[in-house]
Symmetry: D2
Subunit: 388 residues, 4 copies
């Protein structure tokens, strides 16, 4: 694994736990973790349960005891590490967003396709597809429970940037993060929409905004930035969006509405999805991730209504291995499920989903959003994916 | 009152009840109701409590015992009746949307301004401003409880057009209704957003769609249409939008997101509003109209969260006259409150709100939405209101 | 109508509105209202829409233009007025609880039975049976949608007595109110439980408590009390319960749990009902009175869950006459429905429900609760109703 | 660890994870797991991550590499194992309910007290105290945020016994389980009530019921029962309660209401708690375990209401070590927290809570419930705990 901060801790929990809960065809071993600060990475290895620590990702990739490289770094290093790992014959799991640009994502996807011919697999870490309620929603859409879709509505609302004195971390700088709420939150929203609907977005019209344009600089040590100075180092420019709103169309005719922001006061992790179809509707809120709401429009109106499915039954996705009904799961279970599914894909040599091509498609939507926002919100087509 | 269908019944309830619950400076008398079908309008007068019936709105306006004309007809007749009534020296209450075009709304607003100089008042019937929870939300915004606004999010979702066999009523034909979900539902959404924020929208970017383009014709009798034929009369074109999605900006910098649709399966009357500001957030859903959600971001995070204010306390707007705490109000109470406030305005010769100018401003937003939708979603400015 | 305070205002709204919304076989006329204070009752008559005012209920009953007497006074005068009105050949609607003792209720029920033989009807004002969601719940129980019942859970929580400085009103004194939370709130809870289940409670085990045993005296004028003195008149004993908790059994085997209190801080009018049966469950909360929750246990578990039925569809009880789906009703609509149903019963000479016998049965349960509470909570049988 | 079924898997997850997430003063090592079936226990050891397997709990206790014995067996073996382990100088964690009788629990508590003098600690596994929202609720009660308590309401509703063809497992037989819903669910309810209030229950009045008195026998192999026969082996008696309802009093005057059942159709794990005090109220539902509802009654009524605290902030109990705000936890996190706190107690030689004395106190309440139910619901005092 490369990187050991928030995402690294979550991925570690996934790798450590998957084989303790699910029957896996292969047993994950936490061989080595990599980070630039030798002391810190050794402490992280001990804490998180990795057998060894490396300070150069190239050395990690070169290790014989590493079959899979899990990339948990900021987006600006994804492409280089992923391509090198694939070329070195490793399987790759790469955190989302896949890259900071369409070009990088295209390169990565091409590398993934070549690697696939050699039996190496590549997966993008859109972990929310593996919330059981989301997996159930996808299954219900595929089964026709909602019918022809008319509306898709996804908002991803957080509030940790409301305070103007929050400092200028890497997530607020374009060279590191690529974009702001758009890539951090909007990428999840777009991936979920396309996953649930089962087709790519055809085009978008977008508005973006940076509400707070200057923020206090962090001191250099704590952030991996080249930024000068100590705590009172002054202010720097925020170079990414604080919020992105966009509407769009799916080829099959459904309308879509998206909003990604880190300024929605009181909303902590409100990734909300609603699908309205001719036969029914589905609704989900990540702040209540064990619940899926379903309205069955084929029922008599006198007793119809949105029902709250507590997605904790043994017949629900991933639930066969967990606790009795009503004993809910949490956020990090998505990483356990991701680890489980990738291990199965490797053992069975099936294509993992979301693929790098799926990650690229999200990147194309994000690029279209930025292009539309730059061009006075004009409707901007998203290039269709090339069939594999 | 002109018109006695759904809106006429609701307005009648308002006029009959206001003086029985509130202390009013003047006593409303239900003098006469008007409709084209003499037998039907007499039956409606008896049912709804009007002393007389008329079949020509010009005769209604000419009556000496009429001081106020309440217009509850489809939008295509609003301008002609309202202008004539104002010129005849009557006060006017006109249902929303104020008109079917900006031009009509401008004419009406000009007539209202001239009438105001003579002491006649004109009010637009955006009744949802008078849901107590909405009135409370506006008060809290004005008091600074949410601070500088960053986000405004309004969706108005219904589902009564999902079935493609629903017939081609007047609401689905542009000559009568002006527009579809946009004017019917979007007008409320836009008015509430501008009311709550306290300023007009500066511009919008929009998508609209007509999902079901042909619908069965009604037979002529029941709809006021010239449409030919009996029940199996064939199909006609739907000439209005089924759904409208738009984003926008307020001059002060807040971003706004809107959605109006009659295809959101399972959503019956889901007018949902959320405001996010630097100091707090407010949220409302018309399907639970006695509740307002408030997050106070100035509180310590350890015990902060969205609170559900049950807007039934005596210190809440309009509640001083109703029932004890927790004994909720319903939809038609908004018309009682509208009647009350208009009677006060008349007695006290104050300007009623929403004025015709407010109705015109909503119309300008709707026109900008249609223009943007016609021009590939390009961001389209909304002309600023001319100061009175 | 006798009495014109909170209940009188609500009943007046019901009588005024029923015929304006529903097609009634007879037209209610608000002939006269009665109260002891001549000036106040004349003002109330004008406000509430009654044609005349009386200061002696015997005079009211003697009027030829009165066919129905609606009793909205405190419980201690119900029996005398109701019996006299029935004997005078009037129909009677009597507010709940029917009386302050089983003995009074028995006398009233006997009078009602004799009157029925002469064509005069008597109804008890348990208005919550006519919340559409409750009427729908009863219909669904009767249709077998929940199957054999196992659990009935009813809590009625308010909080207006939490503050120890709230004064000693008539509701806190046994001679006027009979009991405290038990008769005020528990009576509704018991009636709803018996109505929904469709059978009487067989026995109960109870705890009651008076948390605040002394409260400030009101001055004499405002309360109909003989209490001496002015505002600083000192303190008086609270002689009723502040809270009552009881469990019970239905003859068919279901267990029941009840709680009535005016000390549940933050709960304003939380009459909550839940029924669990072998085939399904129903849940209701009066603070969200347009909603009924239903879990259908005959569905596959993978997509089952409590659904929120928005009880605003035309096929729902009473809704054929009101607004489109999603346009909710309020508290006072129960009185409109009560008026409607009683007018129908009178016109069609059918027995109205809840009858005085139903009111008596509730009284027997309340008496059993008080007896159990006085006897160390021992399980106490409720006498079975005598078949009519 | 003794036992490796549902509870064993959950405890294993706790022991494996605690040191990977929290900074612990000692590092847990999963030395050995014990079960009667050698093959099955070895498989469980491999799956769950235990270094060794034993088939005799006495051998487990005798191991030098075991410092702590975690007892996850049915209640009938708790006393024997726990006392032996303590006498062998091991720390003990024992699942709830502590025992199947007050006598056993007294013996265990005495053993725990003697062991404490030697530095061995004993803890009862009421894991729900360590749901962050419950820990926060306790902190808020202790800080006086709800003031003098008036009402405590706890229901624990499940539905897995609704189907009469569900077989006669050990949980339905008194010799193994001690009691039914009472000991399984009611024990949690009682412990939480006493924990949150901070004092023991003074007395109770109870009803219990067994709705389905005969159930199909399991075949012998799968259940540890002596029951004969194969799948069609016939029926056996259910010898425990299906549901228990009880009311009670705390010494300080608050009233309490409890319900435990496995027949509440549609309720999967609905452990619901509400506390009403003079200054505020708290509410919790285990089906939404990341949320705590709080009503602050000291606020102005105009903007007061139950707020939803998303208990995922770094300043919330246990959250300093987990994910960012809004990224919820699940059921098994309670076992991670339990492991963490017990490790701290061992390292710091502090008394762990809940102690065996706390488990004994719960047992006394359960015994009083059964006594009251057997004596016609008469109010039955709970013996006060002997001060340590």
């Amino acid at each position: 694994m490369v990187g050991y901060a928030f995402m690294g801790a979550a991925h570690s929990q996934g790798w450590r736990t998957a084989g303790r809960v699910f029957d896996l065809p292969l047993t994950p071993r936490l061989a080595a973790v990599c980070g630039r600060d030798g002391q810190a990475v050794r402490a992280a290895a001990d804490r998180l349960g990795w057998a060894a620590a490396e300070t150069d990702w190239r050395a990690l990739i070169a290790r014989d005891d590493v079959d899979l490289v899990d990339i948990c770094t900021p987006g600006d290093s994804h492409a280089e590490i992923a391509v090198a790992a694939l070329e070195a014959g490793k399987h790759v799991l790469c955190e989302k967003p896949l890259a900071n640009s369409v070009e990088e994502a295209e390169t990565m996807t091409a590398a993934a396709e070549q690697a696939a011919a050699r039996g190496q697999l590549a997966m993008t870490g859109f972990n929310y597809r593996r919330v059981p309620a989301i997996a159930l929603a996808r299954r219900m859409v595929a089964e026709g429970r909602v019918g022809t879709l008319r509306h898709v509505r996804v908002t991803y609302l957080q509030d940790w940037l409301v305070d103007p004195s929050f400092p200028l971390t890497w997530r607020l700088q374009k060279p590191y993060a690529g974009s702001g709420a758009l890539g951090d939150l909007g990428a999840h929203a777009v991936d979920l929409a396309q996953f649930l609907v089962g087709e790519p977005l055809a085009g978008v019209s977008a508005l973006t905004e940076t509400f707070v344009r200057e923020r206090p600089l962090l001191d250099g040590a704590s952030s991996g930035l080249s930024a000068a100075g100590g705590g009172e180092a002054g202010f720097g420019q925020v170079t990414v969006d604080d919020a992105a709103l966009f509407t769009g169309r799916f080829a099959s005719g459904a309308l879509a509405s998206f909003e990604a922001t880190r300024f929605a006061t009181g909303r902590k992790n409100a990734l909300r999805v609603e699908l309205n179809g001719e036969r029914g509707s589905l609704a989900f809120d990540l702040e209540r991730l064990n619940e899926l709401y379903f309205h069955d429009h084929t029922e008599p109106g006198v007793s119809a209504g949105f029902r709250r499915i507590l997605v904790t039954e043994p017949q629900h996705p991933y639930l066969e291995a967990w606790w009795p009904p009503g004993h809910g799961l949490g956020y990090e279970h998505t990483f356990v499920h991701q680890a489980r599914d990738l291990v199965h894909a490797i053992a069975e040599q099936t294509a993992p989903a979301p693929s790098f091509a799926d990650g690229l498609q999200v990147q194309r939507v994000l690029a279209a959003v930025e292009e539309s926002a730059a061009k006075n919100s004009v409707y901007t087509a998203v290039p269709a994916p090339v069939p594999a």
